[in-house]
C-alpha cells in the first residue's frame, strides 16, 4: 500500500492530549462540524497537522461526553444537515487550563532545546 506510507511520512504524530487542545481551540471561533474542524486544523497548521478521522471522532465524542463541547444538528452553508459542535462554559475553562499547560510545556521544551537563549 504505497500511498498509505506516503501519507503517513508527511504527518507529524500528535502528542497525547494535544488533539483535545486543538479541537477546543478550533471551536473557540464558533461552532463547527467534524469535517470543518479537520480542515481548519490542517489549514492553520500549514498542511502539516493532519488529523486522522479515527482519532478525531472518538475525541469529539469523548469531549462531548465530558460536557466540554455540545453538539447539535444544523444545516450547513451547502444545505446539508451536519452535526455542529460548540464550546460549552466548562469547555472554555478547560481550554484555558489546557492552554496554560501547553505554554508551560512549550517553554520547557524550548528551554531544553535552546539552552543559550535563557
Amino acid at each position: 500500500m504505497p500511498e498509505k506510507k506516503e501519507r503517513y511520512q508527511n504527518r507529524i504524530e500528535l502528542l497525547q492530549g494535544t488533539l483535545d487542545l486543538l479541537i477546543l481551540q478550533t471551536l473557540q471561533w464558533g461552532p463547527q462540524h467534524g469535517y470543518g474542524i479537520s480542515v481548519a486544523i490542517r489549514n492553520r497548521s500549514g498542511e502539516i497537522l493532519q488529523v486522522d478521522t479515527g482519532s478525531l471522532y472518538p475525541a469529539l465524542h469523548r469531549l462531548e461526553k465530558q460536557r466540554w463541547i455540545k453538539a447539535e444538528w444544523k444545516v450547513s452553508e451547502n444545505k446539508q444537515r451536519a452535526k455542529y459542535y460548540r464550546l460549552s462554559a466548562a469547555g472554555k475553562k478547560q481550554l484555558s487550563r489546557e492552554l496554560s499547560k501547553w505554554s508551560q510545556l512549550s517553554d520547557a521544551m524550548a528551554g531544553v532545546l535552546n539552552p543559550d537563549e535563557t
Binding site: 469535517y35 479515527g54 471522532y57 472518538p58 465524542h61 461526553k65 451547502n78 446539508q80 444537515r81
Partner: protein, 884 residues
C-alpha cells in the same frame, strides 16, 4: 450508555460520518476534480469507516454492555442457525453436568455438608469400640465421661429409633429419637416454636410433671397443620405419653444425615416407660451416640489428649463386670472424630462407592469437554471464512474471541440449567438405589451453595476449555492470506493438533469407563444370581411388634401359633413359618457353642437363628439329614436344635451330627444342651459376599422369653400373603402397628444396594461415554470428509476406487484407536488396584472383559466413522471438481 439509546447514537454516528465524506468530496469537486475521483479520494483519506466507528463507540463508554448484548444476540442467532450442533452440544453439557451434580449432591448430602447448627466445626463424635471401629457408648460410660472431661463445653448423647405413635386407637410407625437434656443447648439450636429440651426435662424425676417432647417442623406441618396450639398437646409414643413443648427449626433434622426424627424425647421418657430395664443406666447396653462441643480455644488434638488421660478411669468405672470375656469390650477404646457433618451411617457404607462414581463422572466430564471442544473447533474451522471477513471489516481479534466465548457461554448457561434439572431427576434415582425398604431414607438433596458453586465452576471450565482455546487458536488468522486462498478449497487445511489429540484421550477414557462398567455389572450380576441357600422368589417377610399386647409367656406363644395357623390356612399362601433373624437383614445373633460328643474343637462362635415349624420347607433351605422342627418341639419336650453344614462339619467332622448334643457356652443361655435333629444346607444370613456362617437354629417354642420373632410366608403372589397377614393381625391382635412387609427379593437387593448402585450408574456412564466418543468421532470424520471433498474428488478422478477412499477415512479413525486403546488399557490396569476390592468373584484384570470392551469400542468407532466414509466413497469426482 443506556442501551436503548444506542440505536439513535448509532444512526447519528452513521450520518455524521457520511456528512464528513460527502463534504470532503464536495470540497474536491469544487477544486475541479471529477465527482467519482473526488469521492474515491475522500474515502481514501478517511480510512476504514468501520474502524473509525469502532473507535468512536469506544469513546461512548459502557460499551461492554452493548457489545455483550450484540455478542449474545449474534451468538443466539448463530446457534439457532446450526440446530444440530446446538442440540448435541447442549445435550453433551447437560448430561455431563447433570451426572456430576447428581453424584456430587449425594456426596455433599451424605459426607460433606455440615449440620445446620452454629459453629458446627466445634462438634466432635465420641465413640467406643476396638481400634478402627466407631461404636456407641453405654449410658454409664457417657455419664462418667461427662463428669470427668474438661475439653468440652458439654457432651450429649443421641439415639435414633423407630417409634410407634398411637392416636385414637390407631397406631402408626414414626421416626423418633432420644436425646439427653444437654443435646439442644450444646448444639446451640433455637426453637422454631415454643422451646427445645433442656437438662430439667431429662432429670430422673421429670416424669412427675409430664415428660416434654419436641417435634420436627415437617411433622408439625404435616401432622398438626402447622397449628401453634400444638404446644401443650399430649402425644402418645411407644405406649407412653409426653407433652409437646416445642418445634425444631426446619434446617435441623437430627444429627444423622439420612434419618430425620419426627419426635425427639428425653432419655427420661425411656426410663419412665421401661423402669429398671431401660438401657439408660445399664452398663451392658451400648446405646448412646455421643457428641461434644469443644470449648473455645481448645483444639481437636488437645481434646483427644484430654480424652486419653481420662479414658482409663472412665472405662474402669463403666464397663460391665464381664467385659474381660467379651472381645469387643476388652479391646474397646474411646476415640474422637470430627463431628461437623453429623453422623452418616449411609455415608460410611456408600462412601467408597460414591467417590468411585464421582471419579467416573469426572472422567465423563472430561469426555464431554473434549467432545464440546472438538465440536466447537470443527464448527469454528467451518466459520473461518466468516471470521476472516469480519476481521477484514474491522473486528478486533479480542472481539472475535469474545464472540466465540459468548457463544460458548450461552451454551454453558443453557447446558448447566438443563444439567441441574436433569440432576434433580438423577438424584432421586440414586436415592432409590440407596434406599432400604425398612424405613424411608431421608436425604436433603436440594442443591446448596456448594453444589451450585461446583456446577458453575464446572460449566465455566467447560466454556474455557471448549470455547476460548479453539477461539484463540483460530483467530490467529492471516487475513489477507486467507481472503486470497478462501476460494481455493483444495488447500487441505492443516490438521489441527489440538483436535487430533482430543480424540485418542476420549477413546482411552471411554475404554476405561466401559471396562469398569462391565466389571461392576458382571460382579453384581454374579451376586444377584448366586444361590444364597434360601428361596428368593415368592418369599415375604413380616415383622411384628407384640410388645404392648396383654398376652405374655404361654399366651404370647399361643398368639403366635394362632397367627401362624391363620397364615397357613389363608388362600394363596403355600407355606408359612416363624423366623427371628431375617436373611440379609441388619441384625443377627451370636452364639458360642461347643459339641458335647465328637472330637471337634472346644468352642465356636455361631450365627444363631430362632425359627418355627416347617421353616426350612418354607424358606427353601434343603434339609440334608434329619427332620424339620415340628409343633411338638415345645417347652418341656427334649431341647432340640439344627445345625447348618458348616457348623455340623466343624463340630462333628467325618461323622453324622444327628443325635449328637451341642452345649451353649453363653453365660445366660436358656438351656445348656440341645440334641441335633437335622443338618441343613448353608444359607447366607449375613452377607451375599461372604461364605455362609456356621449357624445353629432353635425352635422358637422352646425359647418362651424370646420375643423378637416375625413371620415368613411363601406364596405365588406377594399381595395374597400381605392380605392374609393384615387380615390375621386385625382379627387376632388388633391395634398392633402393621410394619411394612418386605419381599425376599427386595431384601436381597437392599443388601447389595451399593453394588447395584455402582453397577447401574457405571453402566449408564460407560454407555454415555461410548456414545459421546462416537459422536465426537463422527463429527470429526464428517468434517474431514466435507473439507476434503475436492481432494477426494480429485483422487477419484485420477483413478482411485471407492474402497480406497473408504480406507482413506477409516485409516484416520484407526490411528485414533491405535493411540487411544493402549492408553485406555493402561489406565484400566492402573485403576484395577482401586476397584479390586469392590468386585465379587471377578478379577479386574480379566482379559475377557477387556477384549469385549475393546471390541465394543471398535464397533462403535467403526460405525461412527463408516457413515462419513461412505459419504466420501460416493463423492462424484465431476461434482467435486466443478465445485472449485
Amino acid at each position: 450508555m443506556i442501551f436503548w439509546r444506542r440505536k439513535t447514537h448509532e444512526t447519528e454516528l452513521d450520518e455524521e460520518l457520511r456528512t464528513h465524506l460527502s463534504m470532503a468530496a464536495q470540497t474536491r469537486m469544487e477544486r475541479g476534480v471529477d465527482p467519482e475521483e473526488a469521492e474515491r479520494a475522500a474515502r481514501r483519506e478517511f480510512g476504514n469507516v468501520g474502524l473509525v466507528k469502532e473507535a468512536t463507540r469506544d469513546a461512548w463508554g459502557g460499551r461492554w454492555l452493548g457489545d455483550l448484548l450484540d455478542d449474545t444476540r449474534y451468538g443466539l442467532r448463530m446457534l439457532g442457525k446450526n440446530p444440530g450442533f446446538t442440540a448435541v452440544a447442549m445435550l453433551t453439557l447437560a448430561l455431563g453436568i447433570g451426572s456430576n451434580t447428581a453424584v456430587f449432591s449425594l456426596i455433599d448430602a451424605l459426607l460433606l455438608r455440615s449440620l445446620a447448627v452454629p459453629a458446627p466445626r466445634e462438634l466432635v463424635h465420641i465413640s467406643f469400640g476396638p481400634p478402627g471401629t466407631k461404636g456407641p457408648l453405654s449410658g454409664p460410660m457417657f455419664d462418667r465421661l461427662r463428669e470427668r472431661q474438661s475439653a468440652f463445653t458439654d457432651l450429649f448423647a443421641w439415639k435414633n429409633g423407630p417409634m410407634v405413635l398411637t392416636e385414637k386407637d390407631a397406631a402408626r410407625p414414626i421416626t423418633g429419637a432420644y436425646a439427653t437434656g444437654s443435646a439442644f443447648p450444646t448444639l446451640k439450636l433455637k426453637p422454631r416454636l415454643g422451646r427445645l429440651l433442656n437438662w430439667q426435662d431429662d432429670e430422673p424425676d421429670a416424669s412427675s410433671n409430664g415428660i416434654a417432647a419436641v417435634i420436627s417442623e415437617a411433622f408439625w406441618i404435616e401432622h398438626f397443620d402447622g397449628d401453634p396450639r400444638v404446644l401443650g398437646q399430649p402425644i402418645t409414643v411407644d405406649g407412653g405419653t409426653a407433652t409437646i413443648v416445642g418445634v425444631m427449626p426446619r434446617s435441623f433434622n437430627g444429627i444423622t444425615v439420612d434419618y430425620a426424627p419426627q419426635v425427639v424425647l428425653p432419655f427420661a421418657f425411656d426410663v419412665a416407660l421401661r423402669g429398671k430395664s431401660s438401657c439408660r443406666f445399664r452398663a451392658s447396653c451400648a446405646w448412646f451416640h455421643a457428641m461434644g462441643r469443644l470449648k473455645p480455644g481448645v483444639g481437636f488434638a488437645q481434646a483427644r489428649a484430654n480424652l486419653s488421660t481420662i479414658a482409663g478411669d472412665v472405662l474402669k468405672e463403666s464397663l460391665p463386670s464381664n467385659y474381660e470375656r467379651v472381645d469387643y469390650l476388652r479391646n474397646g477404646i474411646l476415640s474422637l472424630t470430627p463431628g461437623h457433618t453429623g453422623n452418616s451411617p449411609l455415608g460410611e457404607v456408600y462412601g467408597r462407592e460414591l467417590w468411585t462414581l464421582q471419579a467416573l463422572v469426572g472422567l465423563l466430564m472430561i469426555i464431554c469437554c473434549a467432545n464440546l471442544a472438538s465440536l466447537e473447533l470443527s464448527r469454528t474451522l467451518n466459520r473461518q471464512h466468516e471470521l476472516v471477513v469480519r476481521s477484514a471489516l474491522g473486528a478486533g481479534r479480542l472481539r472475535l474471541v469474545r464472540q466465540l466465548v459468548a457463544e460458548s457461554a450461552i451454551l454453558a448457561f443453557a447446558g448447566a440449567t438443563a444439567g441441574i434439572v436433569l440432576s434433580q431427576w438423577m438424584s432421586a434415582l440414586l436415592v432409590g438405589y440407596i434406599e432400604q425398604s425398612d424405613f424411608p431414607v431421608f436425604l436433603d438433596l436440594r442443591p446448596d451453595t456448594a453444589t451450585l458453586a461446583a456446577t458453575i465452576a464446572l460449566a465455566t471450565l467447560t466454556v474455557i476449555l471448549a470455547g476460548a482455546l479453539p477461539a484463540l487458536d483460530l483467530t490467529r488468522v492471516h487475513t489477507e492470506e486467507m481472503l486470497r486462498s478462501g476460494a481455493q478449497r483444495t488447500v487441505a487445511r492443516k490438521r489441527h493438533p489440538f483436535a487430533a489429540s482430543l480424540l485418542p484421550v476420549q477413546v482411552a477414557l471411554s475404554l476405561l469407563l466401559a471396562s469398569l462398567a462391565l466389571l461392576f455389572a458382571i460382579s453384581t450380576g454374579k451376586l444377584l444370581r448366586m444361590d444364597p441357600g434360601f428361596r428368593v422368589k415368592g418369599i415375604t417377610l413380616f415383622g411384628v411388634d407384640f410388645e404392648r399386647r396383654p398376652e405374655k409367656g404361654e399366651a404370647r406363644l399361643d398368639l403366635h401359633r394362632r397367627m401362624l395357623e391363620a397364615l397357613q390356612r389363608a388362600p394363596g399362601v403355600e407355606a408359612a413359618s416363624v423366623i427371628a433373624a431375617r436373611p440379609l437383614g441388619d441384625g443377627g445373633m451370636d452364639e458360642s457353642a461347643a459339641p458335647v460328643e465328637g472330637n471337634g474343637p472346644e468352642t465356636r462362635h455361631l450365627f444363631e437363628n430362632v425359627v418355627g415349624p416347617g421353616y426350612f420347607q418354607t424358606a427353601g433351605t434343603k434339609v440334608l439329614a434329619g427332620r424339620e422342627f415340628s409343633q411338638f418341639d415345645r417347652l418341656g419336650a427334649t431341647p432340640v436344635c439344627t445345625l447348618n453344614e458348616a457348623a455340623a462339619s466343624f463340630f462333628f467332622p467325618r461323622q453324622s451330627a444327628l443325635g449328637k448334643h451341642v452345649r451353649s457356652t453363653e453365660p445366660n443361655a436358656a438351656r445348656a444342651t440341645c440334641e441335633v435333629i437335622a443338618v441343613v444346607a448353608d444359607a447366607k444370613y449375613l452377607s451375599l459376599r461372604e461364605p455362609a456362617p456356621p449357624t445353629i437354629y432353635y425352635p422358637y417354642e422352646q425359647l418362651p422369653s424370646f420375643n423378637w420373632v416375625g413371620f415368613i410366608t411363601r406364596s405365588h403372589d406377594t399381595s395374597a400373603a400381605v392380605a392374609a397377614f393384615k387380615n390375621a393381625l386385625s382379627r387376632l391382635a388388633p391395634d398392633t402397628p402393621l410394619l411394612p412387609p418386605i419381599t425376599m427379593q427386595r431384601q436381597l437387593e437392599d443388601s447389595i444396594g451399593k453394588e447395584r448402585l455402582t453397577a447401574a450408574l457405571s453402566l449408564f456412564f460407560g454407555g454415555l461415554a461410548l456414545l459421546l466418543t462416537s459422536i465426537g468421532l463422527y463429527g470429526l470424520e464428517s468434517q474431514r470428509v466435507a473439507q476434503r471433498t475436492a481432494e477426494i474428488g480429485l483422487r477419484m478422478a485420477l483413478g482411485a476406487q471407492g474402497k480406497d477412499m473408504l480406507w482413506f477415512i477409516l485409516r484416520e479413525a484407526g490411528v485414533v484407536f491405535a493411540i487411544g486403546v493402549p492408553i485406555g488399557l493402561a489406565l484400566t490396569f492402573a485403576a484395577s488396584h482401586f476397584i479390586g476390592a469392590l468386585l465379587y468373584e471377578i478379577s479386574p484384570l480379566d482379559p475377557r472383559i477387556h477384549f469385549v470392551t475393546v471390541l465394543i469400542l471398535l464397533g462403535a468407532g467403526f460405525l461412527a466413522s463408516f457413515i462419513p466414509a461412505r459419504r466420501a466413497m460416493s463423492v462424484d469426482p465431476m461434482v467435486a471438481l466443478r465445485y472449485e
